[in-house]
């Protein structure tokens, strides 16, 4: 235990995701020794991000205005909607430049053990968005893990009766790897998601 404010800083840092007690201590002492100007700048951005950034009223992505940049862009395809868990997934998909539609950010995945069911996610907002019939295809791009899979299963059951085309991102083998090194779960999923090569 350290005295007063130093311990407070370690405690606060330790509450951040991915930072354990040792990491918190290391960052705290780095900050103590850092240039005051650098630390002030960090503190300023932290305050500013909470003041300025909010969530897009349409898709739930982080935005600096009422709507995010993607929802405001008139060139985006309104008929295709890609459902993701978090804003960082939007960033990852945007990097591919493959997708020209719009997004819907759920705010997580269904995980009953963490107390997260469909009601805790932006599922109702998704259904409201789809009500006007403009969207004809929904791409489910949840994470390729158990919670992501279960969330996609739940949404498929909800969306199919609406007569939409519902697709799921193929999950498969990392490019650049050797087939023989793939684990059986990933390889099994890749088989399920195989596609025809003659078209």
């Amino acid at each position: 235990m350290y005295e007063g404010v130093v311990q407070d800083l370690i405690d606060e840092l330790g509450r951040l995701p991915g930072i354990g007690p040792k990491g918190a201590q290391r960052i705290a002492f780095y900050l103590l020794e850092a240039d005051p100007v650098d630390v002030k700048r960090l503190a300023h951005v932290l305050v500013e991000v909470k003041d300025k950034v909010r969530f897009c009223s349409v898709c739930g992505n982080v935005a600096e205005d009422e709507q995010c940049r993607i929802c405001r862009d008139p060139r985006r395809d309104l008929q295709v909607l890609c459902v993701v868990e978090e804003s960082k997934d939007v960033v990852a998909i945007e990097r591919t430049r493959e997708f020209r539609g719009r997004y819907h950010v759920l705010g997580g995945a269904i995980s009953p053990i963490e107390g997260i069911g469909p009601e805790q996610l932006r599922v109702r907002e998704l259904m409201q968005r789809l009500a006007d019939g403009v969207v004809i295809e929904v791409i489910l791009a949840t994470d390729p893990n158990l919670e992501g899979e279960a969330t996609a299963t739940y949404l498929t059951r909800l969306l199919k009766p609406l007569g939409l085309r519902v697709t799921r991102l193929a999950s498969g083998l990392p490019v650049g790897g050797d087939l023989e090194y793939a684990d059986e779960v990933t390889l099994g999923r890749a088989f399920e998601g195989r596609r025809s090569v003659d078209d």
Binding site: T153, Y181, V185
Partner: protein, 250 residues
Amino acid sequence: MSLYRDEAIVLRTQKLGEADRIVTVLSHRHGRVRAVARGVRRTTSRFGARLEPFSHVDLQLAEGRSLHVVTQVESLSTWGSSSGRPLGSVIGGDYRAYTAGTAMLEAADRLAGEDFEPAVQQYLLLVGGLRVLAAGEREPSLVLDAFLLRSLSVAGYAPSFDDCARCGEPGPHRSFSPPMGGMTCSACRPPGSASPRPETVALLSALLTGDWTTATASDERTRREGAGLVAAYLQWHLERGLRSLTHVDR
């Protein structure tokens, strides 16, 4: 550092640092074990996909100072699924099975006793329950309630659905009281006891003993009332209820 092997079901996983996970498993011979799986969140990891909740695995672990460390993982037979897929993806692909199964994993975690305390019966019960769930032939919520009643029994909280739970007077009786341990006669009945319908008591008794003919013949209303009683019984004995129980898609 000494190494040991065991087969296990993965109950839950938590992120640790940048790329690691802490996995909690219920193992055949070592009870509940918490271990660090290093680097499994990287896409190049060969372990990651094998260490999802519901996975049935053969593990090699190294004893560490605080947490044990996973050094090898092999997927075990893809039982219960006709298509030969691993259990996690079969259950994850059926939303009702997923929500029921998650409550089973949480219950197993809570009822297994202390870490490293052997819980062979709990382990076998969980393996059997998940196998039935993955086969998809039985109603997931009934599989869950049957599992919860038996898991409570193995943990020493066997409910009585026939003889009076307090004095042993032969049943059938009318009142249900979790603190008393099940059905009670009118003399032992504490105030505020529930008075379930006889069909519901018959269903719970069938689920506890594995009489699937009676259980499958039950109607929707009976199942709901039964599920409510199981939840009340579980909550009493666990002090704090299961988080995932409220999200079960019945």
